[in-house]
């Protein structure tokens, strides 16, 4: 049996009186693409930010790549974070830097100077070609369209060839064709590097193509957990809402 790469156990998180995650538990296995589905504001973004400790959970246990991250200090997380890619819902491109500098940014910390001089140009171009945007390398993020920014952000999160990738709505704002391309790319990445992903998405095409398993986050807990094929056949009205 495969090992779990991410274990989330009885995690609680609230903002003031707003209890976002209530005793939430889940496991993601090595090489798996797990989709998290839930209404807007249900706490999906909060969940994946807790996994990488951008937001600190109030209680519970989170283990990422065998590290209990809630007990780790900021500095100790750096090494771990180099193995994790994170695609922000808002893209979070550095708007004072060109596309090239945006992609080089993760390398500056994790590659030595020699490595960067030898390989960063190639790594950047490769990552951009993967998302079909090699021609934008010298543009500023403000000169790109919304969908192009999403793809550049995706390229940036993949550039270190991470073992774990957390995608926050990777295909929102893309046309169906590009969306399908991106979904296929995500599957390719998974097969090529045997990476593990958590994908937050509302896009049924993306979910159908990428998911190995789907978790439904409702009212702060894991409401249902099954294969996509089984969930679309479900009679439960709360689940049906999402697939109609």
């Amino acid at each position: 049996m495969e090992m779990p790469v991410i274990t989330v156990e009885k995690v609680n998180k609230s903002f003031g009186s707003n209890h976002v995650l209530k005793n939430f538990s889940m496991q993601v296995m090595q090489g798996e693409n797990l989709v998290v589905l839930g209404k807007s504001g249900s706490g999906k973004s909060v969940l994946i930010k807790c996994i990488i400790k951008l937001i600190e959970a109030d209680s519970g246990k989170i283990i990422l790549l065998d590290e209990p991250i809630m007990e780790r200090e900021e500095e100790e997380l750096d090494q771990l974070r180099s193995k994790v890619g994170f695609l922000f819902q808002s893209n979070a491109l550095y708007d004072s830097m060109t596309v090239r500098e945006n992609l080089e940014f993760p390398l500056r910390r994790h590659w030595s100077k020699q490595e960067r001089e030898a390989g960063s140009e190639q790594a950047v171009m490769e990552a951009l070609e993967d998302v079909g945007l090699a021609h934008t390398v010298d543009l500023m993020p403000s000169e790109l369209s919304g969908g192009m920014r999403k793809r550049v952000a995706l390229a940036r999160s993949l550039i270190l060839k991470p073992k774990v990738i957390l995608y926050d709505e990777p295909t929102t704002g893309l046309d169906p064709a590009t969306s399908r391309e991106i979904s296929n790319l995500m599957v390719e990445v998974q097969e090529k590097y045997h990476s593990t992903s958590v994908i937050i998405s509302h896009d049924m095409n993306c979910i159908r193509i990428t998911s190995n398993r789907v978790i439904m986050l409702i009212d702060g807990t894991c409401y249902a957990e099954d294969l996509y094929e089984n969930l679309i056949k479900s009679k439960d009205p709360k689940i049906r809402e999402f697939f109609e």
């Binding site: 990488i52 951008l54 974070r81 922000f88 808002s90 550095y94 940014f105 910390r109």
Partner: protein, 259 residues
């Protein structure tokens, strides 16, 4: 906690002072950690200088000129017109040039840093840095605070020179003082006790401007409104701090007998 009519816990003013203090302490902790961001530091120094150079230059020139023109009648009344260069240079170097420079920097640099870091916070760019293994505090805050601490004294020294030149022109509008005589009188009037404390306090001005700008931006509230508010409050608090530091500095120089 309640002391008299003061409710300490809900007092946003005191809470804020506490938070700024914590932020400053964090700055001193992080500055010693490995992996210094030299490149970004140089970049920030360049930007701070570049953005304020003209403004500081023009203002300093006008201040020197105007101060001289306005001081003349009073001195003439006492028959002390020849003291004009000496008087003008002391007030410019000790007080006017450093404080005006600092205020301009508070407006320009403080708001610039506040807005920049604020929008980076709001659009999750700071989070993205953290995820990519770069310590955003070190990369963004430490470099900017250091750059401001270094550049405000540089700009202020430049302002001193330009203001004194403005004073020279001001003296010569009505009177006749040669270039050599003017500078001789200026340096005769100035002692190290005037110059050194004035330069030292500009380092503190720069530090305060950098810290406040970064603090306001780094903890910006979500939304565009939050960014705007970060920028404005950064200017207000930084300007206020400039005056407070100035007040403290004058007390210290006074105590040390340097006045």
């Amino acid at each position: 906690m309640k002391i008299g009519f003061l409710n300490i816990k809900d007092n946003t003013f005191l809470t804020e002072i506490g938070e700024i203090w914590r932020f400053t302490m964090r700055f001193f902790r992080e500055i010693n950690k490995p992996k210094q961001e030299y490149e970004e530091f140089v970049h920030q120094c360049f930007w701070i200088g570049y953005k304020t150079l003209t403004l500081v230059g023009i203002t300093a020139f006008i201040m020197g000129l105007v101060l001289t023109i306005q001081s003349r009648p009073t001195l003439v009344e006492f028959g002390a017109e020849s003291l004009l260069p000496a008087m003008v240079s002391v007030s410019l170097i000790r007080e006017i040039a450093p404080v005006i420079t600092a205020l301009i920097c508070a407006g320009k640099i403080g708001s610039g840093i506040g807005a920049e870091l604020g929008s980076m916070r709001v659009t999750e760019q700071i989070d993205a840095m953290e995820v990519s293994g770069t310590n955003p505090f070190k990369y963004l805050v430490v470099t900017r605070v250091m750059a401001a601490t270094l550049m405000v004294p540089v700009l202020s020294s430049m302002a001193n020179a330009i203001a004194l030149y403005g004073g020279y022109l001001g003296v010569n509008i009505r009177g006749q003082v040669s270039w050599h005589l003017y500078w001789f009188q200026v340096f005769d009037a100035l002692s190290f006790g005037d110059i050194i404390p004035a330069i030292i306090k500009t380092f503190f001005f720069g530090f305060a401007i950098g810290i406040i700008g970064c603090f306001k931006g780094y903890y910006s509230k979500k939304g565009t409104e939050g960014v705007g508010r970060s920028a404005t409050t950064a200017v207000i608090v930084a300007s206020l701090l400039v005056f407070i530091i100035d007040l403290i500095a004058v007390q210290i120089t006074d105590l040390l007998g340097l006045t």
